[in-house]
Symmetry: C2
Subunit: 362 residues, 2 copies
């Protein structure tokens, strides 16, 4: 059954300590024994028991990532970022998703605490500030991606959602739209509320006579976008919005497809703006204007922040890394892209880019 260090030692004709040294301080092992141990390991197919090592060492190079909805493209990109950031430094990463279920989120936290991971990145669902602070006090470092949970003890990677909403609003106003609709769940999700607030700010600042209606969707899936679009189509034509701003690209794509099938011209009749700039935005039937949220980079930043915290214990310096919003203009708001601007590309300022022929791969 379990081949252990002793079996390897016996076969190689050395002591268990030497086998351990072979792994942990190879410079202490003479070349003859080094070879013998290597051969024995290969012959037995020995793989060290991580539990025992962890028990002895008190810790292991293991981190965890808890996502809201692993199957949304945004989170896939995010997780790749985290993974890449920590893999380079030799850490193992365990995934899990809370499936937007607060109970599951807590049980995943328990599981990872039982496994004594050294740190975790979490995209939180519930209000778990206390739980996370307790974890940190027990030596499990945490980094939150998303709203900061009002803790001054936990590092976070956040995005300027108000700025993103404002960019979207300004853009729609600029192309002459005056009946705006927001598709999201601003009552339950802080991010949605911020995006809506940003758009509303833009409207107020414009001094124009512009209305903003809100259509509540549940989960930010394509399905929800379809439902919302049908709700819009069922309105008398005079009351329909001339532009929608969706809380993410999935909702936007769903709505877009319904509009197209109903014979509505995009963007002439209804302009559509999404959020996130996931792959599907660029690849939609009408390429989507959207607020770019750099999921991969945010994941990388979270992973790096986590490693920094782990590697300097005692240093309780809380970082709060803010990513800036950036608008990517495509055909769903400006049918024929008019001109190109060299825009501000720094990630900390709200900015804008035009993409021509965006359906083509780069």
């Amino acid at each position: 059954m379990g081949t252990s260090v002793k079996d390897v030692a016996a076969l190689a004709g050395v002591s268990a300590s030497t086998v351990s040294n072979y792994f942990n301080r190879p410079e202490l092992v003479g070349s003859a024994n080094r070879k013998r141990v290597a051969d024995a390991i290969a012959e037995l197919g020995y793989v060290p028991n991580e539990s025992a090592r962890q028990l002895r060492a008190g810790s292991s190079k293991t981190l965890a990532l808890i996502l809201l909805d692993a199957w949304l493209p945004f989170f896939s990109d995010l997780s790749r970022g985290v993974e890449d950031a920590v893999r380079d430094h030799g850490w193992s990463l365990f995934f899990s998703n809370s499936n937007r279920d607060p109970a599951r989120e807590l049980s995943n936290l328990d599981m990872f605490e039982a496994h004594r991971v050294q740190g975790l990145v979490i995209v939180p669902q519930g209000l778990i500030k206390e739980r996370l602070e307790k974890l940190q006090n027990r030596g499990i470092e945490c980094v939150v991606v998303g709203p900061t949970q009002d803790s001054n003890q936990i590092s976070a990677v956040t995005f300027d959602d108000v700025g993103g909403g404002r960019l979207a609003g300004e853009h729609l106003l600029e192309i002459g739209r005056r009946r705006l609709a927001f598709l999201g769940n601003p009552h339950n999700v802080v991010q949605s509320a911020d995006r809506l607030a940003g758009m509303t700010q833009a409207v107020e600042a414009s001094g124009t006579d512009t209305t903003v209606m809100t259509i509540t969707v549940k989960n930010l899936t394509v399905e929800d976008g379809i439902e919302a679009a049908e709700q819009i189509l069922s309105m008398p034509e005079a009351e329909r919005p001339d532009a929608i701003f969706a809380a993410n690209d999935m909702v936007a794509v769903g709505a877009l497809n319904v509009f197209l099938r109903a014979g509505i011209s995009i963007p002439e009749d209804i302009a559509v703006v999404g959020y996130d700039d996931v792959q599907y935005a660029r690849q939609a039937a009408v390429p989507l204007t959207t607020v770019r949220q750099p999921a991969y980079e945010m994941g990388r930043a979270a992973g790096q922040q986590l490693l920094e915290q782990i590697e300097r214990p005692g240093n309780r310096e809380v970082q709060n890394r803010l990513f800036g919003a950036h608008l990517v203009v495509r055909d769903s708001t400006i049918g024929h892209v008019p001109a190109r601007t060299e825009s501000d590309q720094t990630s900390h300022a709200a900015s804008r880019t035009f993409e021509e022929n965006p359906a083509l791969p780069a």
Copy 2:
């Protein structure tokens, strides 16, 4: 730092054994002590050290899932199926993805072996038959999803890809198409080869004068579908196919969007058939006819199979569960759905369903 069973025991005024019994054989603990222990646990926020338990017990209720491409919708559905199957029985599940990189696949296997998981479900990339058989001999049960790796030692959950390809081919022939194109990577991936083989069989059986061309795509992403479609558009009009069969829905959706933007009518000019029937197929700009592969159910089946193997050790009965193909007809091949048929719904026969107004949510 680490609160242990001893701290709890000290606070509760009992021995460490009693605390252990509290968790593992509560019927042995008297009600007075039971309460005292419970209080102490709550006060200290004690969470048992899984590594130590695992070291002592020799195993833990932990399983692993290794995916090819966690961010493809098909795999998301699959993983939810596995997760649901094992969660009900109290098992923890660790995810990881190999990102279609054979080296990463192997390193993930090492990691899970080091953590002494009791079993794993894997969607394999490389030819890792030997590695998996070795794992089984060391007591880590394996279930493969996908081609059986020609092992008579490892259980598998497979799908009738030849049958799926045949269904697609028959359907396209039936609606009068005679210039078929297959979009996939049949040279590298067994599944793609089988799907193409199935379509070719259908063509040969039909006795019609029908051509089948193959356009090779790399990774089965939307991006690859876009590239392939552009390749088709660059062909002289007379040489273009009048139908395409894509190796998965992502490729089909990418191609579909390019065609639409180029002013090509779907399905009049080019009929499109996808594979998998993921969410996006139904939600595409033109809802997609596709071969349904029940990802969620296949994941569940794999999870259940794994649990069965673990729970009856010694029983080396290898199961090979085959899922049957099923065609879902939507607008991308028949613009106006003509009729409804009550078709064979069993999962083990190739069959067909018509969906009317498929863009609407159920």
